[in-house]
């Protein structure tokens, strides 16, 4: 039975640590407690939907004390009136149907909660509760105690109610309503049945069609008029100009035809055109609502910290109220929000969010600590040097690149084509008009309008949205999440790729541990392993997991000297594990001491040391050698050049390696490359890459867990798919190829339509056939091609 995991969370239970309760096996007391809570409230159904769905609850004592502060509370709450409060909490652990079920049945555990509703794609739960019966803090504690700890960050502090923009849905709804009804009503016209009965009602039908076309023309298509107006104003010809022109001409000509009783007009084509184009727009928008591409430091930073007042009392204060000279209390796993000086004797600070470095850094009393680090271990005290906005890391966001909202800094491929398309179209229209005006003025006007109507680049405008929309989905399925469709075009243009080193091409999940020194025999291995078992230091934990499983023996004497190492005795042997200075090993060269390592000494005999090195991601070498054929590759690192030799053997010869780069230097580096005319893709991970990611043409953030942390960027790539970066780049090239092919196809349709138009033969029926036909063929063509390319590239 031991191969079966914990009943609650599913992890494999180590031998001798199994807890049996209620005929079920648990890995720890935390999981058992959650099960007890659930069985007490009749909620064990939780385990029926999904096998082992739970998470082990974390210790959060004191972490949410700030929720007692009313000022903070009102900022976090979405709604509050009388006794009813509503809060929307982000819970990263939400991952299966069991989660939805338990979170929507919270009222059975806590009667103060009236309704809780889960939004699964956004990983949010919206809780309505009676504030006189239960406080938000109690709810947060309840959620944490069952393994669903919410994620409350500084971001929650500023966002009030988020307004969802649903205008496109409305427009699409209106367009579809008009399109469907107009099609029905124009059916009799298509067959031109010369029947007295139908002819009688023609004016009535046409009037209804006209009325129905109005909302589509005035409301649904309004976006195109606005966009066309803007593009004329900025003198940049985009595709919306011929579209807007086509729609307006179509409407005027049709109204004229109807009033003069020339025919039924093109209202049906107009409605279908508007509908299909909006559909394309809708298809292009694929949002990953559980991801955020706009994150800055605010989503990492806690909302409040504990301040120690001069009378030694503790108080939760909002982070913005922290001033220079304040003393702060940072607990285990809490983020340091500001730069400061360490007062406590020692701290272990994990900077993995900032730099991607896996191994925590040890700081001594009096050392400077920088914002963004996470304290691991004991509670520490620090004195504030700078307020939040002036700290080393957060200053990066005052760079202008974060200030300006760049809406469309790039010209899209469609816009490029339309630069030629629009003038040619107008030329043909006028030429046709000029030719016919000498023959028949009436036909001349017909030809002029018909050209503009039929050439309306509906199919052309649909090509890009459908191709990109489809590629976006294909990439999303393979764990490359793009911010929007424009990113695909940018990906195809990239010629230089800049990689961050730590956390990007190395993994921050596991370190590569190597041993240097005398051989360790079986006996000593048992000693080391057992001594390490008692230590909570991150390096000890890593080494403990790395060493092979041994038998257990009793450790007689164990002492952990903070900042130095472990002193223990087992079976009358003294074992020292720790830093070089702790072991007083004078023969070690000072340059080697800089490496992160654990030194081992048994009975005063120096054995050797375990070096902790970053592990490079799998497939790195092949990826770089493939990429170097088509791209310039550069590696930027915030670290010193200790790894240069290793990297040079691993990477292709022409790779440029630059070390000791500060966050703003990374940004400048990208800027310089761009000034040389290069299209730069930045691949990074931590907050220190945020500037470079924003500056680059395409910023790709590598994330071990896409739900939680990634700085603002254009694309988020799941770390497990890192080695397939070249596949995604290839796919983007193919997308452009597909678009070019289908442009040719849609231009062919335009030529056919124009042939009808300039000869003065464009009947409403012909337009009604050509337009949907071209749309459908284009859409199916690009869908088929993009799926084909995505598969063929896989091989």
């Amino acid at each position: 039975m031991s191969e079966q995991g914990c009943f609650h969370c599913g992890i494999t239970i180590p031998k001798n640590e199994e807890i049996n309760f209620d005929e079920k096996k648990f890995c720890c007391n935390g999981c058992k407690t959650v099960y007890e809570i659930f069985s007490l409230h009749d909620l064990t159904c939780y385990y029926d939907f999904e096998k082992s769905p739970g998470a082990t609850p974390q210790d959060i004592a004191g972490k949410y004390d700030f929720l007692d502060n009313d000022a903070i509370l009102t900022k976090v709450l979405e709604f509050q009136e009388g006794n009813t409060s509503i809060v929307s909490l982000n819970i990263p652990h939400i991952h299966c149907s069991s989660c939805i079920w338990i979170l929507e049945n919270l009222n059975r555990i806590q009667s103060g909660i009236s309704i809780s509703q889960v939004n699964f794609p956004e990983k949010r739960v919206r809780i309505t509760f009676k504030s006189d019966q239960v406080s938000l803090k109690e709810i947060v504690y309840l959620l944490s105690s069952i393994g669903y700890e919410p994620y409350i960050s500084l971001e929650n502090y500023e966002t009030g109610k988020s307004n969802v923009d649903r205008s496109l849905t409305y427009k699409l709804g209106v367009a579809f309503f008009c399109f469907g009804n107009i099609m029905l009503l124009s059916f009799p016209e298509y067959f031109e049945i010369k029947e007295f009965w139908l002819d009688n009602y023609k004016p009535f039908f046409r009037f209804l069609i006209f009325i129905l076309a109005l909302p589509s023309f005035l409301y649904s298509a309004s976006g195109y008029y606005v966009s066309a107006y803007h593009s004329i104003k900025t003198r940049m010809l985009n595709i919306d100009i011929p579209i807007a022109l086509g729609i307006i001409v179509m409407f005027i000509r049709s109204t004229y035809d109807m009033l003069m009783d020339h025919g039924p007009g093109f209202f049906d084509s107009l409605a279908s055109l508007v509908f299909f184009m909006l559909l394309g727009k809708m298809f292009q928008i694929k949002t990953y609502s559980f991801l955020s591409f706009e994150r800055d430091f605010k989503s990492y930073f806690p909302i409040a910290v504990t301040r120690i007042n001069s009378d030694t009392s503790e108080e939760s204060v909002p982070i913005y109220d922290v001033l220079k000279g304040n003393r702060l209390l940072i607990r285990n796993q809490e983020l340091i929000p500001v730069d400061g000086i360490l007062i406590s004797e020692k701290a272990e600070i994990d900077y993995s969010f900032v730099t991607g470095e896996a191994v925590p850094i040890t700081k001594k009393s009096g050392d400077k600590v920088f914002a963004g680090g996470k304290q691991i271990g004991k509670v520490i005290e620090m004195e504030v040097l700078h307020s939040v906005s002036q700290s080393y890391l957060t200053q990066l966001w005052s760079n202008e690149i974060f200030q300006k909202k760049v809406n469309q800094k790039h010209k899209t491929i469609t816009d490029k084509i339309s630069r030629y398309f629009t003038p040619i179209l107008l030329l043909i229209a006028f030429a046709g008009f000029g030719y016919w005006i000498f023959i028949d003025a009436n036909i001349a006007f017909n030809v002029f309008t018909a050209v503009l109507i039929v050439a309306c680049p509906c199919a052309l405008a649909l090509t890009a949205p459908f191709t990109f929309g489809n590629i976006l989905r294909i990439m999303g399925k393979q764990k490359m999440y793009l911010k929007n469709a424009i990113v695909i075009e940018q990906l195809a243009k990239v010629d230089t790729i800049v990689f961050d080193k730590t956390g990007t091409i190395t993994t921050n999940k596991k370190s590569n541990i190597s041993y240097e020194g005398k051989e360790i025999d079986e006996e000593n291995l048992i000693l080391i392993k057992n001594v390490l078992r008692g230590s909570n230091h991150p390096l000890s934990r890593m080494l403990y997991d790395f060493l092979p499983e041994t038998i257990r023996i009793k450790v007689d004497d164990f002492e952990e000297i903070t900042g130095k190492g472990i002193l223990a005795s087992v079976e009358n042997q003294t074992i020292k594990i720790g830093s070089a200075s702790f072991l007083e090993q004078s023969e070690l060269q000072s340059s080697e001491i800089e490496k992160t390592a654990l030194y081992i000494k048994i009975n005063d005999v120096y054995l050797g040391r375990f070096n902790f090195k970053n592990q490079y991601r799998d497939g790195l070498r092949t990826l770089f050698s493939t990429l170097s054929k088509n791209y310039q590759i550069k590696v930027l690192s915030g670290d010193n050049d200790g790894e240069r030799a290793t990297l040079e053997t691993l990477l292709p010869k022409n790779t440029e390696l630059i070390f000791n780069q500060k966050p703003d230097q990374k940004l400048e580096f990208i800027k310089k490359l761009q000034e040389q005319g290069q299209n730069v893709m930045m691949v990074g991970d931590g907050l220190n890459d945020a500037g470079a990611l924003a500056q680059s043409n395409v910023g790709v953030s590598i994330s071990e867990n896409v739900n939680v942390f990634s700085p603002a960027c254009d694309a988020i790539l799941d770390a497990s798919e890192f080695s397939r970066l070249d596949y995604f780049l290839n796919l983007s090239h193919n997308a452009i190829k597909i678009i070019k092919m289908s442009f040719i196809l849609s231009l062919l349709y335009n030529v056919v339509g124009l042939a009808f138009a300039v000869t003065g033969n464009l009947l409403p029926l012909v337009a009604a056939i050509i337009m949907p036909l071209s749309t459908i063929t284009i859409v199916s063509f690009v869908t088929f091609m993009s799926n084909y390319f995505s598969k063929s590239n896989l091989k």
Partner: protein, 63 residues
């Protein structure tokens, strides 16, 4: 013959009715989350089974 005016008008009115229903549905946020409800609807049966222990005493009281 003029019945066609009536029929078409009625059919358009019905269509408008559905259109309004659609607008209301969008406005109330029904289309914002298209996944969770599909899971939630499967729960109803399960929740009825579990509270059996809770319900039985109340039923006895009623008898």
């Amino acid at each position: 013959m003029s019945v066609i005016y009536l029929l078409i008008s009625v059919s358009i009115c019905v269509a408008i009715g559905f259109f309004i229903a659609f607008i209301i549905a969008v406005k109330s946020g029904q289309y914002d989350d298209d996944y969770t409800p599909s899971v939630r609807m499967l729960f109803d049966d399960e929740t009825k089974i579990t509270p059996q222990n809770n319900n039985s005493p109340t039923e006895e009281k009623q008898v």
